[in-house]
């Protein structure tokens, strides 16, 4: 894996106009994610956290502000294969096997799939889906599909990883399990990660820093440093210090 690269968001603003009223989705959002860091974006629904992620990937036009990924604007960075992404919905193509779904970003980037076969096999093992290479998405459970999406996000050997509530649709138990796996993957690859979530415990467990957002207008109100030592064990979920951090974020979320 090549050296990780950072994300720099400065002054992002966006207003949606619809049905007679204007919604200020983002107002002057500035955030810097240093190379190799893990940042979580947390906030209530409609606070614009997904808009930030989509704008960072060039999927959503902005009214003002600048996004730089490894020093490049989104279209260049994405087309160069610097980024990887997984959304809340796995977005798998139902007619492609697990292995061919994982290969999709390579095809879009115009890279050869042949030489990546071994790497795809390793990724399938990494997300714990050995033996499911040729399964179709319809034959998998929701959690397994989400793991395929994570593997797909890593296939292009990204230096920056964007995750938009990738475990949002999973149940609590599965979610914990996936959090632990994600931490392992992040530690192994060292990829700069921006995770959008609405789970406080998930954000605290995984991130170096949690950026807390509020809605109307969508903005970052505080960035909370998470100074828990790594690697973080599952037992952390019941530690007092962990809960103190969660409570603090909850207070910021509720405008305390």
């Amino acid at each position: 894996m090549t050296a990780p690269a950072g994300i720099a968001l400065s002054g992002l603003s966006k207003t949606f106009a619809g049905r007679g009223k204007r919604v200020e989705a983002l107002r002057d959002v500035t955030l810097a994610c240093p190379p190799g860091s893990f940042t979580a974006l947390i906030g209530p629904s409609g606070c614009g956290k997904s808009t930030i992620l989509r704008a960072s990937l060039g999927l959503e036009p902005l009214d003002a502000g600048r996004v730089e990924i490894a020093g490049q604007p989104p279209p260049q960075a994405t087309a160069a294969g610097i980024t990887g992404v997984a959304f809340q919905d796995s977005g798998l193509l139902p007619w492609r096997s697990v292995a061919r779904n994982i290969a999709l970003p390579l095809e879009v980037l115009g890279r050869d799939v042949g030489p990546a076969k071994g790497r795809i096999r390793d990724l399938i093992a990494l997300v714990g889906l050995n033996g499911y290479e040729d399964a179709l998405p319809g034959e998998l459970s929701g959690g397994m599909r989400q793991r395929v999406a994570i593997a797909r996000a890593l296939v292009s050997e990204p230096r920056v990883l964007f995750l938009d509530e990738p475990f949002g649709a999973l149940d609590q138990i599965l979610r914990r399990q996936m959090n632990i796996e994600l931490q392992r993957i992040w530690a192994e690859t060292g990829v700069t990660t921006l995770l959008v979530t609405h789970g406080i415990d998930e954000a605290v467990f995984l991130a170096d820093r949690v950026a807390v957002m509020q809605a109307n207008p969508g903005r970052i109100v505080e960035v909370v440093e998470i100074d828990l030592p790594r690697p973080r064990e599952p037992s952390l979920f019941s530690a007092p210090h962990f809960h103190a951090l969660c409570d603090r974020i909850a207070r910021v979320l509720h405008g305390g």
Partner: protein, 516 residues
């Protein structure tokens, strides 16, 4: 076992009743022969069938391939460039609504050999497949498309990797619905066009001989071919789908294809396009002027020429006969369908018994069904009405039942949870929910109603537009043949647009409705 018995008993009893009634000549003094009599006649005639069946298969197969190829191509173009779709709207509606029987004489007079049959078969499949292609390409998984775009993929990459393959199930189901249409188109052209071979020609040759069992045999053979063509594509699409069912949470909604904001210029173009196309085709094919009438010549025939008043009078007299019965038949068919769908909601058993019979009558090509109904019902108004009902009720029923089935379970159960009776629940939830679908059904069945009436008039009652067309064909009155064809297509389009207008109005009032 008991479940099997319950399922098979009603059809078995029905077959038995048919056999008894046929053997004893109970229905219309022998017009309905027993199934065994029909089958034994089929066996006697077995030497005749291969030539006729293969001629029909060849024409409908060629038409199916050509029509579908054009339809998929057109669908792709419409999705890539919505302006072209709006421009082609007039042509599309005309092709969808045109009663095949109205243009069959023109085709058989201006084209030779197998061509008219192929053209009519192709016209029969075009709209269904085109629409299915457009829908399939528009309703794709937006999340999967996001993934492609997130790696720098453009419109082309999304189309190639997500949308085209995603549209395959929709296109296949289009093929499935279109396949019997191709058979119907080919038989209609055979029927109206002479020629020695083809089931339509066979039917025409046997019509005057008063042999119900042979007519039934031909009808059965035609039904079988149409049904098999449907079944083949049903099997293929099931194979193709396999486990690759859609699993998206978030398919992109169909873009509003027909907004109210079409510019007047494009609207004008859409209206002009069918006429321009008509002109261009005549010119390109070098049809002799005596046979091929341009839009201007038809106008001249009807309004300016010496015989114009007479032509007008005959046309209006025919319209005065055709139009009322079309509307009456459509109304009856829709009411029947609506009652059936509601009855099916209250008593599922009823649907189970009735539906198989209905499906068989629907698969039977209309031209084959009509002589049989004439045998059963005579040549009066009743037969026209019955034919019209039979062509309209089934699509309407499917549509309305689909609407009822889409009412969320929770919405259905809510009145029940407060102790409401079945009727009350029906009145509060099911009926309002199915109304928009009733209007959509009206739009879809209006052209079919006109087709049914014209076929009945041509074959049975000797009245109205259908008869005028048949007569003019006999007198080689080309001006009138073209006029009737044009007028009936326009009438069909007008009925369609009127139904569309009512539907839009209703949807605006009720606030819900089917998507297209």
């Amino acid at each position: 076992m008991a479940g099997d018995l319950r399922r098979w008993l009603p059809p078995a009893l029905l077959l038995l009743a048919w056999e008894v009634a046929g053997r004893l000549d109970l229905v219309a003094s022998g017009a309905l022969p027993a199934l065994s009599e029909i089958l034994s006649r089929l066996w006697q005639d077995r030497a005749d069938y291969p030539a006729h069946v293969s001629a029909t298969l060849a024409a409908s197969g060629a038409g199916f391939v050509i029509g579908n190829a054009l339809a998929v191509l057109a669908g792709l173009i419409f999705v890539l460039s919505p302006v072209t779709e709006r421009l082609a709207r007039g042509v599309n509606i005309a092709i969808f609504t045109l009663p095949p029987i109205a243009i069959a004489p023109i085709l058989t007079l201006t084209l030779d050999g197998m061509t008219p049959r192929i053209v009519l078969a192709a016209l029969g499949v075009y709209f269904v497949t085109m629409q299915a292609t457009v829908t399939g390409l528009r309703q794709y998984d937006s999340r999967a498309a996001d993934v492609v775009r997130a790696y720098g993929g453009g419109r082309g990459a999304v189309l190639r990797l997500v949308r085209v393959r995603g549209a395959v199930p929709a296109i296949l189901s289009g093929f499935r619905v279109a396949a019997p249409n191709a058979v119907l188109g080919a038989i209609l052209a055979e029927f109206g066009g002479g020629g020695r071979f083809g089931l339509g020609a066979y039917l025409l040759g046997s019509l005057g001989r008063g042999e119900p069992d042979r007519l039934w045999g031909i009808g059965l053979a035609a039904t079988l071919i149409a049904g098999l063509s449907y079944a083949v594509f049903a099997v293929i699409s099931r194979r193709m789908l396999g486990a690759s069912i859609s699993l998206s949470l978030n398919p992109a909604g169909p873009e509003p294809a027909e907004g109210g904001r079409t510019s007047p210029l494009i609207g004008l173009g859409a209206v002009a396009m069918p006429f321009v196309l008509w002109w261009v085709i005549l010119w390109a094919m070098q049809v002799p002027e005596m046979l091929g009438k341009t839009p201007w010549q038809v106008f001249d025939y009807l309004f300016l020429a010496d015989g114009a008043p007479v032509a007008q009078e005959r046309l209006l007299a025919a319209l005065a006969e055709t139009l009322p019965i079309t509307l009456a038949g459509m109304g009856a068919g829709l009411a029947f369908a609506f009652g059936l769908a509601v009855a099916g909601r209250l008593t599922p058993t009823f649907t189970r018994v009735f539906l198989p019979v209905a499906i068989v009558t629907q698969t039977m090509p209309l031209v084959a069904l009509t002589p049989l109904l004439v045998l059963l019902l005579g040549r009066g108004t009743a037969v026209t009405l019955w034919i019209t009902v039979s062509v309209t009720f089934f699509p309407a029923y499917v549509m309305i039942a689909q609407g009822i089935a889409q009412v969320p379970r929770a919405a259905l159960e809510l009145p029940r949870a407060y102790g409401a009776s079945g009727w009350r629940e029906l009145r509060l939830v099911t009926l309002p929910a199915s109304l928009p679908w009733l209007f959509a059904a009206m739009r879809l069945t209006a052209p079919r109603a006109l087709l049914g009436v014209m076929i009945a008039e041509w074959l049975a009652t000797g009245r109205g537009l259908g008869n005028l067309l048949n007569q003019s064909r006999g007198y080689l009155d080309f001006g009138m043949i073209w006029t009737v064809a044009v007028v009936s297509v326009m009438l069909s389009v007008a009925l369609y647009l009127a139904a569309l207008w009512v539907e839009r109005l209703a949807i605006r009032r009720i606030g819900i409705g089917p998507e297209n």
